[in-house]
């Protein structure tokens, strides 16, 4: 457990968008599982924390939802990314890359003293 990283809130929205973009419509469980699988179970999320993020994204219009039937024949709500969500995803991805690149450059600095 201790090896698993916690996911902080802002990032979760990005992961959700990316997942939906890659996989098409998914229900909450599918999204949570997919995030865990993609990170090879290194990322652990409390599945419950996913829902406020989904709600926020839906209110912002980045994703849309409708009721459907899950693989085990249960009624489940399926989320899909919208056009606005794809735009948001693209801009957040580039922001994220920029940020990691900058941070990476700092970390790559050889200390003058060392």
């Amino acid at each position: 457990m201790s090896a698993k990283a916690e996911v902080w809130q802002g990032t979760l929205a990005l992961l959700v968008l990316k997942t939906l973009n890659a996989m098409g419509p998914q229900h909450g469980y599918g999204i949570a599982r997919r995030i865990e699988q993609t990170s090879e179970d290194l990322l652990s999320i409390n599945h419950g924390t996913l829902y406020p993020v989904l709600l926020k994204l839906e209110q912002e219009g980045a994703i849309a939802s409708e009721w459907g039937v899950s693989e085990n024949n249960r009624r489940a709500k399926f989320y899909r990314i919208t056009r606005a969500g794809q735009k948001q995803l693209a801009s957040e991805v580039s922001q994220w890359e920029q940020a990691t690149e900058i941070v990476g450059r700092f970390l790559a600095l050889k200390g003058a003293k060392a």
Binding site: N46, H47, S70
Partner: protein, 885 residues
């Protein structure tokens, strides 16, 4: 940014619409999520029980997820409000009686306030439609004479000099009110007509909707045959025909070419004597004769309106005008008295005497609403007391003070808004009623309507009302110590002194305001009664009157007018019901007219030797027909034809011959600058009912046959029986003659007090509603406290208290706040009375009878309101009362 907005909108939407459905949906969504988790665990070989446990662990807290979800979905503030609203609606439904009383009384209060506000708005607040009205002023001249200074209309020569010699003055326009007969498009009838200088329209900034205004050259005799019509006359008499421009129409049986139509909203800011709200229908160019222009003093017969240049102040303008004014007495031969002028801002002038009255009514109706608020606050407070246990439980369960406060306030706002909505509906109807049923001298009153400004006012007032009567109860409720409330919750305890005292204070406030309103209404009523019973100088009983105007080429020659009146008077006196009849150029109580000086032969042009009097022309029968007492000498007789004679009022005779007890037979110079022999002295007659009679001079009509008179007829039977015969007599003289309504003289007198009657009616209605609401308030609090103290009363009775003792106890307690309030109310009324002194007539604000009467009425009402519940208390069966718990 758009994202945030979009989210906010969706959250708001979420609150308002999908609350319950959303909850169920979400629960289902979570449920299926956990199910899927569990099934996966089962697939991994975990036992079903363990699988579910793990699934729940993996998911985290379901309840906190739900809560987070709920908080995010809607806006918590709105959720709280929605909850408060539901709670308020429930509270109202639970107590429909209270809600009905509250909503109805608020509807009446807010409706009446809105109605009065729409009057105030249209008359006092809405800017005048003239261009730059702040630079417009009406002008009066201040005429020095033997008894001070009187504002009078202006002399046209003076007005011309102001325009020419005062650098601050841009323009001066002159006007003179008149009437003219129009026969086109209906029965021949008189219409208010203004003769105006050509510049008046440009000065006021009004453009005709059709055609043009006057040209300067049209003020010349000979080219003045042009007329401008009001839009309403154009519509009513000419079917709004655009082709009427350029056509000739008959006015006073003479040809006038129509050159323009003025817009319907236009009102001339015309004001002379008591008439300030004439809606003129015809406008003609003002033609000033050579002799008029030559007159340096006297001839104060025109209304003037003046526009200052941009950036100049009224003081600058007035100073310059007064310099110009100073030269006229000098030119006229007098040096020791100064002629001055007075500028009245046109907006003030246009509202005239209605200003004070309207503010008074607005204040009164505001006070009524305040009383209603206080009463509702009191009722809510009483209910709060019984809800304090509930509130205590709520706060024990963690409801914050703010939420509790909000809950009570929501209830009061809900009531206020319901009442306000009803009140606005009611106000539209009330405004219509007020405007259509009164014939008042309030300029622009007929423009009053419920418009957007009024609606905004009504809405703000409604919200304010809700706060005013809700804040106190809400504050009381949240200040309760929950522990104490829970402990004291058993209802055997008599209510805490503090709560009672608060409510008694409110009762005092209500009673005080009611007392003040009652006293003010009483003062107005006293004024009106005194006014109607003032010594008018004539007897209106059994007198009929009708206005006659002679116009057109038939009557251009004075001798034709004289003959007309001769024949008419002969015919009228032959009517069997007619006792005596006469004509007069201006009826008493209809205002002062024809102000020109009279003087002794050989007097210089010095102002103090020329005495301005009210000049009127009459027929021999006039004094008898009106029962005006002849104090010395005699009235006019036929044998006076051909002689210069006059009759003076006592005051006028004293001006000419101070101290002379019998001036009959002496000579003076009349208003026509011809010598007159005084043949009689008559009693004073009021030209305006509410001011002292002016000095008056009367001349026989044949000395200067007038073109407009009032015929007065004293009848033997009921006055209206002679009306038909009178009409026939007039028609037989001239079939084309426009005949105005035949009225009794009592009607005429009554018409002159219409405005006071209107004020009094409204004020009386406000005072009565205040009284009613206050008495309900007293009744409410006394019966409530009796009900709360049933137990205590039962004990007292069991211990041997007598019925009357209990009665006295309850009444004493109920009346204490009433007496306190009365005292405060009387003091308040003394201040108010001073403020409205301008509306009073021969009644002092300290009038003992009025104040005592109001006190008596309130005491009686208070006693009755206390007595009913007190009797119930005294009739309590002690055993039942003690068992009541």
């Amino acid at each position: 940014m758009t994202r945030t907005l979009r989210r906010g909108w969706n959250r708001l939407f979420g609150t308002l619409l999908h609350r319950n459905a959303g909850d169920a949906d979400f629960a289902e969504e979570l449920h299926s999520h956990i199910q899927l988790l569990a099934e996966e665990n089962i697939r991994r070989g975990v036992s079903p029980q363990e699988a579910y446990r793990r699934a729940k662990l993996q998911f985290g807290s379901i309840e906190s997820t739900k809560e987070m979800y709920r908080d995010q979905r809607g806006l918590p503030v709105f959720d709280a409000i929605a909850q408060d609203l539901r709670y308020a609606v429930r509270g109202i439904r639970r107590n429909p009686g209270f809600a009905t009383v509250a909503i109805l009384s608020l509807a009446i209060g807010i409706g009446a306030n809105t109605a009065i506000f729409s009057l105030v708005n249209s008359v006092l607040l809405r800017p005048l439609a003239y261009k730059d009205p702040q630079r417009l002023f009406a002008v009066s001249e201040l005429l020095p004479h033997s008894f001070g200074q009187t504002p009078v209309p202006v002399n046209p020569t003076h007005a011309r000099a102001w325009a020419k010699d005062c650098p601050s003055v841009e323009q001066v326009a002159l006007m003179r009110g008149n009437r003219a007969a129009v026969a086109a498009g209906g029965e021949p009838a008189f219409f208010p007509t203004a003769d105006v200088t050509h510049n008046v329209f440009a000065l006021l900034g009004v453009k005709p909707i059709l055609g043009r205004t006057f040209l300067p050259e049209e003020e010349q005799e000979g080219s003045h045959g042009v007329v401008i019509l009001s839009e309403s006359l154009w519509r009513s008499r000419f079917n709004a025909d655009r082709k009427v421009i350029g056509k000739s129409i008959l006015i006073d049986r003479e040809n006038y070419q129509v050159v323009g139509i003025l817009p319907g909203w236009f009102r001339l800011p015309y004001g002379v004597a008591s008439a300030t709200n004439i809606q003129f229908e015809l406008f003609r160019p003002l033609v000033l004769g050579r002799d008029e222009i030559a007159r340096l003093m006297g001839n104060f017969n025109y209304a003037a309106i003046l526009r200052l240049k941009r950036g100049k102040t009224a003081d600058q303008g007035l100073a310059e005008i007064n310099v110009v004014q100073a030269q006229f007495p000098r030119l006229a031969g007098s040096t020791d008295r100064e002629l001055k002028a007075k500028l009245i801002p046109v907006h003030e002038f246009a509202t005239g005497r209605s200003r004070l009255a309207l503010w008074m009514l607005a204040a009164a109706v505001g006070a009524v609403l305040l009383i209603i608020c206080i009463n509702l606050a009191n009722l809510l407070l009483a209910r709060i007391t019984s809800r304090s246990r509930e509130a205590a439980i709520r706060s024990a369960l963690g409801a914050s003070r703010g939420r509790q406060f909000g809950m009570v306030l929501t209830e009061s706002l809900l009531l206020a808004i319901s009442g306000g909505a009803l009140g606005i509906l009611f106000s539209g109807w009330a405004v219509h009623l007020l405007v259509s049923t009164t014939t008042l001298d309030i300029p622009r009153l007929d423009d009053a309507r419920v418009d957007s400004t009024v609606l905004v006012f009504a809405f703000c007032l409604t919200v304010l009302t809700g706060f005013v009567f809700g804040v106190l109860p809400a504050w009381r409720l949240t200040r309760n110590d929950p522990q104490e409330a829970l402990r004291a919750g058993s209802h055997t305890v008599t209510e805490g002194r503090r709560g009672l005292r608060l409510r008694e204070g409110l009762i005092s406030l209500e009673v005080g305001l009611s007392a003040a309103l009652l006293i003010v209404a009483g003062l107005l009523a006293g004024s009106l009664t005194r006014l109607l019973h003032v010594n008018k100088g004539f007897d209106a009983d059994h007198v009929l009157t009708v206005d006659i105007g002679l116009s057109g080429h038939l009557y251009v020659e004075p001798v034709n007018r004289e003959k007309f009146f001769d024949r008419l008077l002969a015919k009228v006196s032959a009517i069997s019901d007619v006792q005596t009849s006469g004509i007069i150029t201006a009826l008493p109580t209809r205002g002062q007219t024809w102000n020109d000086p009279i003087y002794l032969e050989g007097a210089g042009d010095r102002i103090e030797e020329r005495h301005p009097v009210d000049n009127r022309y009459a027929s021999p029968g006039y004094f008898r027909a009106m029962s005006i007492a002849v104090l010395g000498g005699r009235g006019f007789e036929e044998r006076d034809r051909g002689h210069g004679v006059a009759v003076l009022s006592e005051k006028a005779a004293q001006l000419l011959w101070p101290g002379d007890p019998n001036p009959i037979g002496r000579r003076f110079i009349g208003e026509d600058d011809k010598p007159k022999t005084l043949i009689g002295v008559v009693a004073e007659v009021r030209a305006v009912l509410d001011s002292d009679p002016p000095a008056m001079a009367y001349y026989p009509y044949w000395q200067r046959p007038p073109d407009g008179v009032s015929l007065v007829v004293r009848t033997t039977a009921g006055p209206q029986t002679a009306a038909g015969a009178l009409r026939t007599a007039l028609r037989s003289e001239d079939a084309q003659l426009p005949i105005q309504r035949i009225r009794s003289m009592e009607d005429v007198v009554d018409g002159s007090v219409a405005q006071r009657r209107f004020q009094l009616t409204l004020m009386g209605a406000f005072a009565a509603s205040a009284l009613l609401v206050a008495s309900l308030g007293i009744y409410g609090i006394v019966s409530y406290s009796v009900a709360r103290r049933r137990n205590e009363i039962g004990i007292r009775m069991a211990l041997g208290a007598q019925r009357f003792e209990l009665l006295a106890l309850v009444i004493r307690q109920g009346m204490t706040p009433v007496v306190l309030g009365l005292t405060a109310g009387v003091v308040l009324a003394l201040f108010l009375g001073r403020a409205i002194r301008g509306l009073l007539f021969e009644v002092q604000p300290t009038n003992f009878l009025t104040i005592a009467g109001a006190i008596a009425v309130l005491l009686v009402v208070g006693m009755v309101a206390c007595f009913i519940p007190a009797r119930l208390a005294a009739g309590t069966d002690s055993v039942a009362a003690l068992r009541f718990e």
